[in-house]
C-alpha cells in the first residue's frame, strides 16, 4: 500500500514544485520591478519540451544523466517522510534513511556529471568540474550538520529526528542546535544553484554548465527534477531542522519559506567564482559545522 501513496506524494510534490518555483521566480521578478512568468509557465515549458519532434543523443550515458538526476530527486523524496505522523505520506522512511538521503543529495550531481561529460561539450565539462568541486565543498558543512543532529538526537532515522522536535517551535533543531542549522543553511545556499553559488550554471561565464547539450525530453526530465529536487531537499532540511510538517499546508508553507531563503540571498548577489565559494564554505560553514559537532 505504500507505493501508491508514495506516488501520490511524488505527484503532489512535483506539482507543488512546479508552481512554487514559478511563484518564487515571480517574486524575484518583482525585485526587478516586473511581473515575471505566468505561474503555470513551467507546465507549458515542460509540455513544449516533451513535444519537440527531434532530439539527439550522445550515447547511453548522456541519456542516463537526466534519469540519474531525476532518480536522485525521486529517491531523496521517497526515502524521507513528507508529512510527520501520517502513515500515508511517510513514504519509505526507515531507520537509516538519513544516510541514504545524504547519498541521494549527491547522487543526482554525479549522474549528471557522467551524462554531461558524455556530451563532449567543453562547457559541460567545465560546468561539471565546477559543480563537483563546489558541491563537495558545500556538502561538507551539511554532512557535519547532519552528524551533529544525528549525534544530538542519537538516531539516523529522519522520522525519529522529526519526532524529537515536536511540541513547540522551541523544540526545533533551529533552536536546540543553531550552529548546526547555520552550517546546514549555508550549505543549503550552496546547493540551490542560486547566486552567489551558481557559477556551475552561470550563463555569462560559461553557458550553461552541465545542461549545455540537453534539450527536448532530456531537458524536460531535468526540469521535472528541478521542480522536485529542491522540494525533496527542503523536506530533508525541514525534517532535520525545522520540526517537519504535520500536514500538507504546513508542508507547503515551510518548504516555501525555506526555499525563499535561497531566493532571498540569490536575487541580490552576484556569484562567486568556484574557488571563492569553496573558500567561503571552508572558512565560514565548515568551522560552524565542526563546532556544532564538537559542541554536541
Amino acid at each position: 500500500m505504500r507505493i501508491p501513496w508514495a506516488l501520490l506524494t511524488l505527484f503532489i510534490v512535483i506539482n507543488y514544485g512546479l508552481l512554487m518555483t514559478a511563484l518564487v521566480q515571480k517574486i524575484g521578478a518583482r525585485v526587478g520591478r516586473r511581473h515575471g512568468i505566468p505561474i503555470w509557465q513551467n507546465y507549458i515549458d515542460m509540455i513544449k519540451n516533451y513535444a519537440l519532434r527531434t532530439s539527439i543523443t550522445h550515447g547511453v550515458m548522456f541519456y542516463l544523466g537526466p534519469v540519474f538526476r531525476l532518480s536522485g530527486g525521486v529517491g531523496l523524496l521517497l526515502f524521507v517522510p513528507s508529512i510527520y505522523g501520517s502513515e500515508m505520506f511517510a513514504n519509505f522512511s526507515f531507520a537509516g534513511d538519513l544516510i541514504l538521503a545524504l547519498y541521494f543529495v549527491f547522487f543526482g550531481t554525479l549522474g549528471m556529471a557522467l551524462g554531461a561529460a558524455e556530451s563532449g561539450h567543453p562547457y559541460s565539462a567545465i560546468g561539471i568540474t565546477r559543480g563537483l568541486s563546489q558541491m563537495t565543498a558545500a556538502e561538507l558543512p551539511f554532512a557535519l550538520a547532519v552528524f551533529a543532529v544525528a549525534l544530538q538526537y542519537q538516531t539516523l532515522s529522519v522520522t525519529e529526528i522529526v519526532a524529537a522536535q515536536q511540541g513547540g517551535v522551541l523544540h526545533w533543531t533551529l533552536f536546540t542546535n543553531p550552529l548546526a542549522v547555520a552550517a546546514a543553511m549555508m550549505s543549503f545556499l550552496g546547493s540551490m544553484m542560486r547566486p552567489p553559488f551558481d557559477v556551475v550554471l552561470a550563463p555569462q561565464e560559461i553557458p550553461i554548465g552541465p545542461p549545455t547539450e540537453y534539450h527536448s525530453s532530456f531537458l524536460a526530465m531535468m526540469q521535472t527534477n528541478r521542480a522536485l529536487f529542491p522540494v525533496a531537499k527542503i523536506v530533508v532540511y525541514m525534517n532535520l531542522f525545522f520540526g517537519g510538517a504535520g500536514s500538507w499546508p504546513e508542508f507547503f508553507l515551510k518548504v516555501f519559506l525555506i526555499y525563499m531563503v535561497s531566493a532571498f540571498v540569490g536575487v541580490v548577489f552576484p556569484r562567486f567564482r568556484v574557488e571563492q565559494s569553496i573558500r567561503w564554505f571552508l572558512i565560514w560553514a565548515v568551522p560552524l559545522g565542526i563546532l556544532a559537532v564538537v559542541l554536541v
Partner: protein, 390 residues
C-alpha cells in the same frame, strides 16, 4: 593557493603563436562567442585554458562587418548621414556628431548656437544610456541580473526622451550635417527632470546593491588591472584610462561643442581594476546627469537649429582631410574624413575606442585570468563590437 600567478605567462614564438604544446592534453581550446551570453554583442574569443586559467586569447571580430567605410564612399555627404549612426548601436550619436562636425569643418559651415547646445544634450543623453547599459552588463557578467533590470528600465525612460526629441528610439539620426533636425519639444525639460530623478533613485539603489556588495567586491576588486604603462601602447582612452588615474577626457582636453561653458571635472579613479572602472563610470554617469541639467537650464530657448545648406543632392566639398574627435562613454571617438572635391567622401575612417580596447588590450589583459572572469573583463572594458569592425 588561488592567487593569480603572472609568472605563468606563456611565451610566444616570433610568429606570434604560443610556445606551448597544445596537444599535450594540458590545455583546452575554448570558444566564447559569437553566440554566447557572456559576450557583448556579436564577437568571439578563442581561449586557450589550462585548468581554470587562460593562457592565451584571440579575439575574433568581423561578425558585424558591413563595410561602412566603403559604403560611404559611394554615398553623397548627406546620404552618409543616416548610415553612420549604425556604426555603434548602443551609443550612435557620436557617429552623427563626429561625422557632421567633420563635414562641416571641411565644407566651411558654421552651425547655429542652439544646435551646439542640443548636440551636447544629445551626446550626454547617449552617454547616460550607454553607461546604464554597461552597469547592467557588468553586474550581469557576475550573475547579478537585477541591476540590469533596473538600469534597462531607466534607460527605457531615457529612450522615451530620445524618442520625443529625435523621433526615434535607437538610431536617432538627429545630428545632421548643418545642425540638428529640430528644437526641443514643449515641456521637454520638465519631463527630462523627472527622468533624471528616476535615474538617480535607481543609481542610489545600484550603489547599495552593486557597489556596496561583498560578493561584487570580491569578484571585481583587484581583478583585471590595467597597467598604466599600457595606456599609450594600447591606445587606451576614456574611463578605462581614467580609472587608471589618467584624466584623459576629450571634453576637458580638447573641448568641443559647448563643453567649455559647462562646469565639470574629469572623473578619475586609481586602482584600475574592474571595480574602479565600474565606479568611474557610475560617477561619470552622475556627472552626465548634472551636465544635462546644466545644459537644459542654459540653452537658448529659441533660434535656428540648422544652418542654410547647399542643395544636398549635389553637395561637393573641396579637397581636404581632417580628424574630429569626441569623448564617448567608452573613450575617444573620432572620424577621419578625406574629401577630394567630389560629391562623395574620399575616405572615412572611424576610430572607435573599442577597436584597441577589445583586441590588443583585451588579449593582453585576459592572460592568466580565470575563465569565470573573462566575460566580466570584456564587459569592464566596455566595448561595442560593431564599432570595431564597422
Amino acid at each position: 593557493m588561488f592567487e593569480l600567478d603572472r609568472s605563468q605567462y606563456p611565451q610566444k614564438k616570433a610568429d606570434g603563436t604560443l610556445d606551448i604544446d597544445l596537444t599535450s592534453g594540458k590545455y583546452l581550446k575554448l570558444w566564447q562567442g559569437p553566440q554566447h551570453p557572456g559576450i557583448t554583442g556579436n564577437m568571439a574569443i578563442e581561449l586557450t585554458v589550462c585548468g581554470d586559467e587562460v593562457v592565451d586569447a584571440t579575439t575574433h571580430v568581423g561578425y558585424l562587418h558591413r563595410g561602412f567605410e566603403k559604403l560611404m564612399e559611394r554615398r553623397t555627404f548627406m546620404q552618409c548621414f543616416p548610415i553612420v549612426c549604425r556604426i555603434c548601436v548602443p551609443e550612435p550619436d557620436f557617429n552623427e556628431y563626429c561625422y557632421a562636425a567633420a563635414v562641416e569643418e571641411l565644407a566651411g559651415l558654421e552651425i547655429p548656437e542652439l544646435a551646439h547646445w542640443i548636440r551636447t544634450l544629445i551626446l550626454e543623453m547617449g552617454r547616460v544610456n550607454s553607461y546604464l547599459m554597461y552597469l547592467g552588463g557588468q553586474a550581469g557578467a557576475f550573475g547579478q541580473g537585477v541591476i540590469g533590470q533596473w538600469t534597462t528600465y531607466v534607460r527605457d525612460l531615457m529612450l522615451d526622451r530620445f524618442e520625443e526629441l529625435t523621433g526615434a528610439r535607437i538610431y536617432h539620426m538627429f545630428i545632421i550635417p548643418g545642425g540638428v533636425r529640430d528644437n526641443l519639444p514643449d515641456g521637454f525639460a520638465g519631463r527630462m527632470e523627472e527622468t533624471l530623478r528616476e535615474i538617480e533613485s535607481v543609481l542610489a539603489d545600484v550603489d547599495r546593491v552593486m557597489f556596496h556588495n561583498a560578493v561584487f567586491k570580491k569578484r571585481a576588486v583587484g581583478v583585471g588591472v590595467i597597467d598604466t604603462a599600457w595606456l599609450d601602447s594600447y591606445g587606451i582612452t576614456g574611463p578605462n584610462a581614467r580609472a587608471a588615474g589618467v584624466a584623459k577626457d576629450v571634453r576637458k582636453d580638447q573641448p568641443y561643442l559647448v563643453y567649455p561653458e559647462l562646469e565639470f571635472e574629469a572623473v578619475t579613479g586609481k586602482d584600475s581594476d574592474i571595480y574602479t572602472r565600474a565606479d568611474v563610470r557610475r560617477r561619470d554617469l552622475l556627472l552626465s546627469l548634472d551636465l544635462i541639467r546644466q545644459i537644459l537650464s542654459r540653452l537658448p530657448k529659441t533660434g535656428a537649429v540648422m544652418t542654410k545648406l547647399p542643395n544636398v543632392l549635389h553637395w561637393k566639398i573641396p579637397r581636404g582631410e581632417t580628424y574630429v574627435r569626441g569623448e564617448c562613454s567608452r573613450g575617444e571617438y573620432g572620424y577621419y574624413l578625406v574629401t577630394d572635391g567630389s560629391g562623395y567622401p574620399r575616405r572615412v575612417n572611424v576610430r572607435g575606442p573599442s577597436y584597441t580596447h577589445s583586441i590588443a588590450l583585451f588579449e593582453r589583459m585576459v592572460i592568466n585570468a580565470n575563465i569565470s572572469d573573462v566575460a566580466a573583463l570584456l564587459v569592464s572594458l566596455h566595448t561595442y563590437p560593431p564599432e570595431i569592425e564597422r
